[in-house]
Every structure is written in structure tokens, then in C-alpha cells.
Amino acid sequence: MINRILLSGSGGQGVITMAILLAQAACLYEGHNAIQSQSYGPEARGGATRSDVIISDEPIYYPKVQHPNILVALTNEASAKYLKFIRPNGIFLFDSDLVQPSTKMDADYVGFPMYKPVMERFGKPQALNICVLGALLELTHVTSFDSIRQCLKARFRPAFHQANEDALHLGQDLAASWKGTHRLG
């Protein structure tokens, strides 16, 4: 089993946090080897951000994802940059309000609004990454929801636990209803 996951967007969207949670869940709670790395510019906010996660039962040497089987893009720029590298039969998850994929690849294009439902539900965009994570887990089962919940509880103060739980559920529900009308693979 090897999952090569590339999460991309712009600085401040929580792309790196999402990657850390995924890799940590796989490593500490599910016993896999996992590595997480990232690339970003010198800006505090904005600028292109990517984070790479590899989850495997074999040792992981080269830590970067060149050809993801799971790609998340939260900006058009990120989609334009990385979609062309996706592996055949990969899953491409994007927010259909923010991203219009231009390249046609041999992959499942899973797009639905996530930013808008997050704003409607929470009134602020901070939980977007956790919502995306919920959708990603529902689609790919890279880790279990329970492992992610343990990581969320360890990482965030109790004041955020309910909002994280709600955002995770929101993403799960959005992906589940997408699956109701589309077929994967």
C-alpha cells in the first residue's frame, strides 16, 4: 500500500495543517510509515503552498510527491500546476467554486463547493481545511475518521473541538452526497 498525496492551495488556507493531520493519523494511530513535507514562499500569507504526504508500509526515502494518486487543489493556480502530474486512476478533489480544471487527465474529478458551505455554516473560512479533510476521507479512506479525530483533539484547544467535528462532518456529508450522484473509478 502506498498513497502519494499532494495538497495544494495558497498560504493561509490550512493546506499544511491538513497534510500534517493526515500523515500523523496514518503514522501514530494506524502504524504506517508516513512523511510530510511542504513548500511555500517567504510570505506570511498568500503565495503558492503545497504539502506532500506519503503513506506506505515500506520505508520512505525520497520524501516528495512527484505524481500523486490523490490531489487536492484549492486554487486555480494549484490545479493548473499539479493536475498534469496526477497518476492514472487518481482522485482529484477540488472546490468547484474556486477551481475550474482545464486539463483532462485519466483521473476522477471530484468537485463540489466547500468554501461556500463552510462560510454559511461557520461564518468564517478557518474550518475549510477540516471540511476538505472530511471530504477526502469519505472519498479515499486514506485514514479512518477516528484517527483524524484523535489528531484534531491533540492538536487543537478544546474550544475548537466541536467546530472541527462539525467541519469534518460537513465535508463527509458533501462528499457522500456527491457519491450519491457520481461514480468513482
Binding site: I20, C27, L28, A34, P42, Y61, P63
Partner: protein, 381 residues
């Protein structure tokens, strides 16, 4: 084995330092080293240690020199621009034989360069950043677990030889996250400071080595009067112009490290037994080199990797021995060949040594190394 966590190389460095009984850290934040300071700001007070954010890198280096002389195990962490600023006081620590650990989280240079991107451009600065003839120890690591363990080694070497040790990490290793399992107490050997047996109030020679070359220390303020200076000094620590004393000190500072090159060497090796192409690498580049070796072994090609964890003093005997039967030696590093030039001086056939490098702020890939080997073998780029 103890607790497992999923952390950055920087946090592994902080935790390794604590395992080695670090009790004083002074630093000034700079990417990609900042999380070392952040972690220690949180962790050091829990063990009764002191964390000080200083006004700059120069004062940070000076502060750890003072704290070390006062009896604490010390460390500072920085990146290229700050490493440049620290050089004068690193030279002072070499001269005054002050045990200390300096982390340089390498990023793209020269100057402020690429704050968030990787490079290995400080290899020669680690060796020769301070002026004057001297020797120094510099160590590297290629995984989060290795960062922890090599940090403990850095403290052990600093204490044993009373010398600054440079922990030459890089942006990739510092920022990547992997599993870290904290060894139980006692699982890794920790060298504690060697104190003088001379009674307080009695004449003490701070720079008179024992027969084994080690210098027993007395904490500044603990009852022995002695002088500490960056000038050439005698066994009391007082400045001297005596040619015998000057030559003795120069040779002592050089020999105490260079004569131990073999015992200070730390390395890892993969598939070297029958390798006809030997890759030599270190730090994050070694991960790409190992990936390439692993991939090519699956195809039956005889590649091997020598990962150098000690790069200074340069383990020339080791490199010569491990590459003796190689048709090609490829040094994979993210600079213009700083370690490659050392490898060439160490081996029987320097004409068989080639550089596979990448200097655009990105981690060298296994493909970069593959292309280099292809070109060398006359099969085009």
C-alpha cells in the same frame, strides 16, 4: 523504546538536545531553524533550563559561550545569514575550548538567499567560517530519528573534546515530519562534563590536558580563578607570545580533532558490498540518493550509498576504503561540489569522482542523479 511522536526534524533536534541534558539555549529566530527555538522555549523551562531570545545571532553565540563556561550544556540554532554572524564567536569557542553545539539549518544562499528553500551550501563555511588554523566537527542527518540521535552525538563530542560542534542540518530535514521514537533514558550514551579534581582555592590549570588529551573543566565562579581569552594562551589561560606555547596550542587544537577522525566518523551504508557505482551523500540529499539506489537495485543494477553523518573532520580513510572497488563515485549534494572536492582528494582515482548537484532551492531528485550517471556513462542527458 519510549514515546512515539510525529514531529519535524527541528523538534527532534530540540528533544535530542534535552536528552543530552541541554540546559541553556540562546538564539535569534530565523527560517528554517525557528522551530528549534520554539520547541525549546516551551520544553527547557520544564527541566529547569534557561531559554533566552537574544537581540541577534552574535549575542546568542556569545551567551552560550558564557553559559557553557558557567557549567551548563548549551546550544544555539540559526541558518546561513546567522551562521555567518556567529563565526567570530565560534572561533573564540574553538580557541577557549568551550563545549557548545551550533545548529545551522541550511537554506539557499549566499546572503538572505532563499529563506524557505533547501541548500547544502554551508559545508565549507562550517569547516572554515572562523578564521585561523583550527579544526571543527560538523555532523549531518537525513531523517527525523537520525536528527535526534546525531544531536545527542553532537553534545557528546562537544563535551568530550571541549569544542564547538556544528550540526549541519538543512531546510528539508528541519521541516519534514516523520515518526520520532524517543529512546529511553540510558538507551543512548550521554557524555557528561569532565570536572577537575583540583580543590577550590588551589592553583588550577584550565588548559593543562590530562594524559588522554581531555581538559577537566571548572565552572566559572566555582572556586578556581582562571582566565579565558581568545588570545593565544598558556596552561593558566593567560595570553602568551611564547613561540613554544603558541605552537603547542595550535597543534593541540588541530590534533585533538584531526587525530580522532576515524573514531569521530559516523556513517550509514547501503548495498556497498558489490556496488560498482558508489553514491556519497548526506542530509536530505542522501534520501534521494538512497531512493535511486533502491530503485536501481530492483532492476539489478549494482549501486550503493555511503551516507556521511560526520563530514568534518572529513573521514578520508573511510571514503577511500568504501569506494576502493567502485567504477564510478557520484557525490550527490545541493551545492557546487563542496564535499565532492574532499572526496576527490581522498580516493585513489579522483578521475572517477563526479558531482550530481542541484542548486535551485529544490531537493535533488532521484531522477537528477540518474541523469547525471547516464551522462557520465556516455548515454546522453
Amino acid at each position: 523504546m519510549g514515546e512515539s511522536m510525529f514531529v519535524q526534524g527541528n523538534e527532534a533536534c530540540a528533544r535530542g538536545a534535552l536528552y543530552a541534558n541541554l540546559r541553556f539555549f540562546a538564539g535569534y529566530p530565523i527560517t528554517p531553524s525557528t522551530e528549534i527555538a520554539e520547541s525549546l522555549a516551551e520544553l527547557l523551562p520544564t527541566v529547569g533550563g534557561k531559554f533566552v531570545q537574544m537581540e541577534d545571532e552574535i549575542s546568542s553565540m556569545c551567551a552560550i559561550c558564557g553559559a557553557s563556561l558557567a557549567g551548563l550544556k548549551v546550544m544555539t540554532a540559526t541558518s546561513g545569514p546567522g551562521f555567518s554572524l556567529k563565526q567570530e564567536a565560534i572561533g573564540y569557542a574553538v580557541m577557549a575550548e568551550i563545549p557548545c553545539v551550533i545548529v545551522d539549518a541550511q537554506r539557499g544562499g549566499p546572503s538572505t538567499g532563499l529563506p524557505t528553500e533547501v541548500s547544502q551550501g554551508d559545508v565549507m563555511q562550517a569547516r572554515w567560517g572562523a578564521h585561523g588554523d583550527h579544526s571543527i566537527i560538523a555532523l549531518t542527518a537525513s531523517s527525523v530519528q537520525d536528527v535526534f540521535e546525531i544531536t545527542v552525538e553532537a553534545f557528546n563530542m562537544a563535551e568530550t573534546l571541549r569544542t564547538p560542534v556544528v550540526l549541519l542540518l538543512d531546510a528539508e530535514i528541519c521541516h519534514m515530519r516523520e515518526r520520532l521514537t524517543i529512546p529511553d533514558p540510558g538507551e543512548l550514551h550521554v557524555v557528561e562534563r569532565l570536572y577537575t579534581e583540583v580543590k577550590p582555592g588551589v592553583a588550577y590549570h584550565p588548559y593543562l590536558p590530562r594524559e588522554d588529551g581531555r581538559l577537566p573543566i571548572s565552572n566559572f565562579g566555582d572556586g578556581h580563578r582562571f582566565n579565558v581569552t581568545g588570545l593565544h594562551h598558556d596552561i593558566w589561560g593567560f595570553p602568551t607570545q611564547n613561540p613554544d606555547s603558541i605552537e603547542y596550542l595550535n597543534r593541540h587544537l588541530y590534533d585533538k580533532i584531526e587525530n580522532r577522525t576515524n573514531s569521530l566518523a559516523r556513517w550509514k551504508e547501503y548495498y556497498l558490498d558489490d556496488a560498482d557505482i558508489v553514491l556519497i551523500s548526506y542530509g536530505s540529499a542522501a534520501r534521494s540518493a538512497l531512493q535511486h539506489v533502491f530503485d536501481r537495485r530492483l532492476r539489478g543494477e549494482r549501486l550503493g550509498l555511503l551516507e556521511l553523518q560526520t563530514i568534518w573532520p572529513f573521514p578520508a580513510d573511510l571514503v577511500r576504503k568504501k569506494t576502493a572497488h567502485a567504477r564510478r563515485v557520484i557525490v550527490a549534494e545541493m551545492n557546487m561540489g563542496q564535499l565532492c572536492s574532499q572526496v576527490k582528494t581522498a580516493v585513489e582515482h579522483p578521475e572517477r569522482v563526479f558531482l550530481a548537484n542541484r542548486i535551485d532551492g529544490r531537493l535533488i531528485t532521484p531522477e537528477n542523479i540518474a541523469r547525471c550517471i547516464r551522462l557520465i556513462d556516455g548515454r546522453g542527458f
